[in-house]
Amino acid sequence: MSGRVSHTVDMSVKLGELTLRTPVLTASGTFASGREFADFIDLERLGAVVTKGVSLEPWEGSPSPRIAETPSGMLNSIGLQNPGVEAFCEDDLAWLSSVDVPVIVNVSGHTVLEYVSVIERLEVEPRVDAYEINISCPNVDSGGMAFGTACTPAEEVTRACRAATSRPLIVKLSPNVTDIAEIARAVVASGADGVSLINTLLGMAIDIRTFRPKLARIVGGLSGPAIKPVALRMVWQVAGAVDVPVIGMGGITDTEDAVEFMLAGATAISVGTANFVDPTTVMRVTDGLAEFCRTRSIARVSNLTGAMRT
């Protein structure tokens, strides 16, 4: 920390109605519900915990192997394994009740009705602060990404979820599309209070010794530093296309990455794969953002949002 400048930086950001202490969130599916990370970091210093994807019934997920390492990244085909919303409320939300941090629940479904049913169950839980609707998971056969790659289904899911809750509704977009700004506009017109992006890029790897795909499910989602340039471009395009807050993610590993996403237009950012590499990443990035602003006499971290000069 530089000794010369001592003013404190306002690290809070507004995601619609929700005010977050910091713009640093966790990316769904990389942080469980935070419990496993409590040994390494102070969860209460996070902007919010974004939980793993939750569906109505328990999902088994995909067969193993489920991951493969790639240059500066990894593929995963976890397939949204989760114990279902009931068990989620009993275990994860109960555990989170003793932690003072906003909770954004990532919602999955095979059908529009399933998304809505998950939300309905969660509506009675006071510990839920917002929903992130995952219409972009590349690892389930029906539902998931299929909802996120065309406007009409994306609109339908969003409208139905919107009708089910008055809590903040964030829609998580798929990067596997020709025009992500178009999908963003469609979900915002259908009632989304914010959008988050990007989910993983659909990718593949082959074991040349066995001639078999490295993932049992053949294809999976690419995440990590490798996808950062694509994610940043999409955040910039979407931030220019919609008037709601954008949560940016994709390969964020350090403070510099987080700053880039905010300059491109993100109001908040999520750390995903980097949690596996260094479980303290979110704290490093939080401190780093404050320091970045401090040394440049930027009073509010939110001033970084969209501050790229072209």
């Binding site: 469980a32 040994d39 991951i67 049992a216 530093p225 590993t253 794969t273």
Partner: protein
């Protein structure tokens, strides 16, 4: 091991900055790295592992899981096989180099109270998590018998450690250059018939562990297996490492790597062998 008594005493994992004390080749393609890692050394239990960051930068990003082979004071030892990018990088590390690890991780071997005689069955690198166990059993006065296998005499590992603490060590090599010619499962079969055993511990290729588990079950001896899965987080958050069990999907990193063989539903999810 899910629900086992030892979990109550398990210490939470931490990120520990460690220093390489020594790093030597101990057999063809196998190295032993000694790390100054006081916190892990003090808290690790046999059968647990550490998740090591072998490189900074972004060339390869994931950590690599390795069993703690032995503990000596503030030092831990890792026995590793050079296979790919990560273990090649590890082989290049020299005394004085720093790296970091997360540990201790996972549920290790369970030592049921009152046992008198244990059989340890190792295939190849499977000896790695059995080193600490053999020492611990011997220290507790449990008689130890070891069956260990390798392709040939040159690639036989940690024989000295076992011979130092075990009552009986049986060796199998594929080419017969040391001990019995053939697989370690053959030796295991004989020992199960020969000896009065209270528990079998095994680690090695999954196909081998599966056979050992079946042999133990046939002989009515409880068996613990140590399973490898590809791991991203190592701490239970990512679900990349699942193992099918009769109690549902379990995470190898926190519910294992050691499992009661009786609950494992063996399938084809084994990591393909490299060599």
């Amino acid at each position: 091991m899910s629900g086992c008594a030892c979990s109550e005493h398990a210490v939470p994992p931490a990120l520990e900055r460690v220093e390489v004390v020594a790093n030597d080749r101990v057999a063809s393609g196998v190295g032993l790295v000694v790390l100054h890692a006081p916190r892990t050394a003090e808290t690790v239990r046999s059968g647990q592992f550490v998740h090591v960051r072998l490189a900074h930068g972004t060339s390869f990003i994931l950590r690599r899981p390795f069993s703690v082979h032995r503990v000596r004071g503030e030092r831990i030892e890792i026995l590793y096989q050079v296979l790919g990018t990560g273990t090649r990088t590890l082989a290049e590390r020299e005394a004085g180099d720093e790296m970091d690890l997360i540990g201790p991780l996972g549920h290790g071997w369970e030592i049921p109270p009152g046992i008198a005689h244990a059989l340890l069955v190792a295939g190849g690198l499977g000896v790695a998590p059995l080193g600490m166990l053999a020492e611990e059993l011997a220290a507790r006065g449990v008689a130890v018998t070891v069956a260990t296998g390798a392709p040939n005499k040159e690639r036989l590992l940690v024989r000295d450690l076992f011979e130092g603490v075990a009552r009986r060590v049986e060796i199998a090599t594929d080419d017969g250059s040391c001990g019995t010619r053939g697989f370690v499962t053959g030796v295991c079969e004989n020992l199960l018939a020969d000896e009065a055993l209270d528990v079998v511990y095994t680690c090695g290729p999954e196909s081998m562990q599966r056979i050992v588990a079946a042999q133990a079950a046939g002989a009515g001896v409880p068996c613990q297996v140590s399973l490898e899965r590809l791991m991203a987080c190592g701490i239970g958050a990512c679900l990349s490492c699942v193992v099918r069990t009769s109690q549902g999907l379990k995470r190898a990193c926190v519910d294992g790597p050691v499992f009661d063989a009786a609950v494992v539903l063996w399938d084809l999810t084994e990591i393909p062998a490299k060599q």
